[in-house]
């Protein structure tokens, strides 16, 4: 059953993997890419070769399909891995930890707003829209609900001598949404600045595409795959380990208002 893999097959497989490293390349735009994707889906040996090429490079093939093309993810410690330290480099050392969390949260919130319901994440034809306004607004609203929950109790204010034990929603709420700067733009350390950075970054990675008015993006199939197949799972596992994961049900748990 197994057949010989010729060097030219390996080359083709490597070319497919290389396409995955180009954020803006899409099978719909490039017939050669589309042909490689078709081959991957029809030829198991070729698919296996492509996966092995990727694996050798320190990558994992998340999905290969006509719409998103090949979606890759970096394994830990791979040269292709994007580290938070590099991403959030320009933060002051004093509140580095809180800043990292805010940056990570901005990415999480961008995904949450891009795919508000589990169905949206599961539905391949769904195209989400996000804007800085929406993302920051949603996180603030969620944080405000958490604030309402503790208001009146003795937990209403954080401990003053343990910044690491401060709840994340407090950090987000306390951080200003925007800050006037000399040139009239929003400051970078503000929540809108952090979300704006996340969205621009995702657009550079080919996960979002800017549409029409400034600051509004639509999602790409690639982003959906990335969030669904990997990012959400990873975060899910981490939360599971921390034992704070709420029990989900089929209809989704996004019903913030009812339990306030």
């Amino acid at each position: 059953m197994s057949r010989e893999v010729s060097p030219s097959d390996v080359e083709a497989a490597a070319r497919l993997v290389a396409f995955g490293m180009r954020p803006k390349a899409l099978p719909g735009r490039d017939p050669a890419y589309a042909e490689l994707v078709r081959r991957y889906r029809e030829d198991d040996v070729f698919a296996d070769t492509a996966q092995r090429v990727a694996s050798g490079l320190g990558l994992v093939v998340l999905a290969v399909d006509a719409a998103p093309g090949i979606v890759l993810a970096a394994v830990e410690e791979s040269v292709f891995e994007i580290r938070m330290d590099e991403y959030a480099r320009r933060t002051a050392l004093a509140n580095r930890q809180a800043d990292k969390v805010l940056h990570g949260l901005a990415h999480l919130a961008s995904a949450a707003l891009a795919f508000p319901r589990p169905d949206d994440l599961g539905n391949d034809t769904y195209v989400g829209r996000v804007s800085v306004d929406q993302v920051d607004g949603a996180v603030r609203e969620a944080a405000r609900l958490l604030e309402e929950r503790v208001s009146g109790s003795e937990e209403a204010d954080p401990l003053s001598d343990a910044p690491q034990l401060e709840a994340v929603w407090r950090v987000w709420l306390r951080r200003p949404e925007a800050a006037g700067t000399k040139d009239g733009r929003a400051g970078e350390a503000t929540t809108r600045g952090i979300v704006g950075k996340a969205l621009r970054f995702l657009a550079d990675q080919g996960f979002l595409v800017p549409v029409g008015t400034e600051g509004v993006y639509r999602t790409t199939p690639r982003y959906q795959v990335q969030v669904r197949e990997l990012a959400a799972q990873r975060a899910f596992d981490e939360l599971l380990e921390l034992g704070v994961l709420p029990v989900g049900d089929a209809s989704g748990s996004l019903r913030g208002g009812s339990d306030v």
Binding site: L72, G137, V139, L159, Q226, G256
Partner: protein, 495 residues
């Protein structure tokens, strides 16, 4: 249990803390090096600023800083009329920036306070608050809004229920109008307006949340209750204000004093503004239902699930928000690492490399900037030359006794036809020779020429037939009058 009393202390402490930034303004104003702060009451300006920001708040956005400073200027100017407009404006900006607390990362204030936990232990907690908040408007501009804390500080109604304060203010207003105390009536009307703004703000937040996600707001109970409350509020306010309006219009027309007439007119303006705000609020209330239904249609009636997926908002984002910073690092970091995609290490491609290498370096002249062509004036050549100078030396130095210029010229003419000119020049130069200069220079001898009134008879030159002599300079020997020149007194000696 100490619980109840304890809570009261904490609440009062927080209320007190909100005023601290204002006191701080007054204590720090003397440290400003660009300002003679004595005439300014900074806390007063701060209250006016919060006032102006609050009044400018409506549904969509607040006021931008420049606008607030503009409105603030008359109040600042009133405190220091002799200072310049620039200074007034700068003071206005300074106060507002301090109310925002621009220097801090979070742009807010905080105060530590203690409370007792269940075990009766003293626990230090931090109360974070803001007075003026910067928000981004729909056009990307940054606008100011007053926080709830600021509004509470401003109206002085700490820890009171919005609705009951509203009713109290109304009753007070009507009484005041009946008794004709318009100044107080104006204050009460303004307080009522702040309440209205607070309502509007609460409603705006709910509406915003609804637009973002229908399910994040409880449309079964809490929002309808809020809408009902707001509608009832508008209804009662409308009735009250119409009555007040008629009342004040009467008061204005009846008033004989111009001052009271003006007060009544002012109050009329305030009440009109209130009514306008209610109308605005009512419009939003009417739109709210439609917005909800439209959002519900959009968000609920889409296709059924195709596969099980994680609920990013509810299962990931919200739990992360509830975690503390330390523990949230792992899940948010994991999401970022997995969701950010791959980074392609930047390696120069061969094409790029070749191009980089072949790009001719930017032309840079090793000599630097071109030197501007200097404008040269022709050098006047030495009219005499070294040889003639030597010959002139010989002619002048010869003899050593006093010689007439005419004789010197004659001697020179024997040597060289051009020489008499140089000799004549040097002789003229020798008239009034500074002995002190020659001595300082260490010259051995000095040429002295003195005019004794004899007239020169010469084919080339005219003037006095000078007596010329070469005199040795003795170190430490000054001429008597000490001025170092040959004058009338010295002349005899030289002769």
């Amino acid at each position: 249990m100490v619980r109840a009393g304890d809570d009261g202390v904490a609440r009062r402490l927080k209320a007190l803390a909100c005023t601290a930034p204002l006191h701080d303004l007054d204590s720090r104003r003397t440290r400003l090096d660009w300002l003679d702060a004595a005439p300014y009451q900074m806390s007063e300006i701060a209250l006016q600023a919060i006032d102006q920001v609050t009044l400018a708040m409506d549904f969509d956005h607040g006021a931008d800083q420049a606008q607030v400073v503009r409105r603030l200027r008359p109040f600042v100017a009133a405190q220091a009329p002799e200072a310049s407009d620039d200074e007034h404006e700068r003071v206005g900006h300074w106060v507002i920036e301090n109310l925002i607390n621009v220097g801090s990362l979070d742009r807010g204030f905080q105060i530590d306070y203690g409370s007792l936990d269940e075990a009766g232990r003293y626990v230090r907690r931090r109360f974070d608050f803001k007075l003026l908040v910067e928000l981004a408007g729909p056009d990307g501009q940054v606008y100011l809004r007053a926080s709830d804390e600021a509004i509470n500080v401003l109206v002085g109604a700490l820890d009171t229920d919005v609705e009951s304060a509203q009713v109290a203010a109304e009753v007070k207003l009507e009484n005041l109008i009946q008794r004709g105390r318009l100044g107080d009536a104006r204050l009460a009307a303004e307080q009522a307006r702040y309440r209205t703004v607070q309502y509007a703000e609460a409603l705006r937040q709910k509406l915003d949340a609804t637009r973002r996600d229908v399910r994040s707001v409880d449309w079964l109970a809490s929002v309808p209750a809020l809408l009902d409350e707001a509608l009832t509020h508008i209804e009662s306010r409308y009735r009250a204000e119409t009555a007040i309006l008629a009342n004040i219009a009467d008061a204005r027309d009846d008033a004989a004093e111009p001052d009271r007439r003006r007060q009544a007119a002012d109050l009329l303006g305030v009440v009109n503004d209130c009514i306008q705000r209610h109308t605005q609020l009512q419009t939003r209330l009417q739109e709210a239902g439609a917005a909800f239904r439209a959002e519900q249609d959009r968000q609920e009636f889409t296709g059924g699930p195709q596969r099980a997926a994680v609920d990013v908002f509810g299962q990931l984002l919200r739990p992360c928000l509830a975690l503390d910073v330390d523990r949230a690092l792992a899940p948010t970091g994991a999401f970022f690492g997995a969701g950010a995609g791959v980074r392609v290490p930047s390696v120069p491609s061969l094409g790029g490399l070749v191009e980089t290498l072949l790009t001719p370096p930017a032309e840079r002249d090793p000599l630097g900037q071109p030197v501007p062509e200097p404008e040269l004036a022709p050098v006047v050549p030495d009219a005499f030359g070294e040889l003639r100078w030597a010959r002139a030396d010989a002619v002048l130095g010869a003899g050593g006794d006093v010689v007439r210029l005419s004789e010197l010229l004659g001697r020179a003419r024997d040597v060289d036809a051009e020489l008499p000119a140089l000799v004549a020049l040097r002789t003229l130069h020798a008239v009034g020779t500074a002995i002190a200069t020659a001595r300082n220079q260490g010259d051995g001898s000095v040429l002295i020429a003195v005019d004794d009134g004899a007239v020169l008879h010469d084919p080339e030159f005219g003037g006095a037939d000078l007596l010329v002599a070469s005199a040795a300079v003795l170190a430490g020997d000054l001429d008597e009058d000490g001025d170092g020149t040959i004058d009338g007194n010295d002349r005899r000696e030289a002769s």
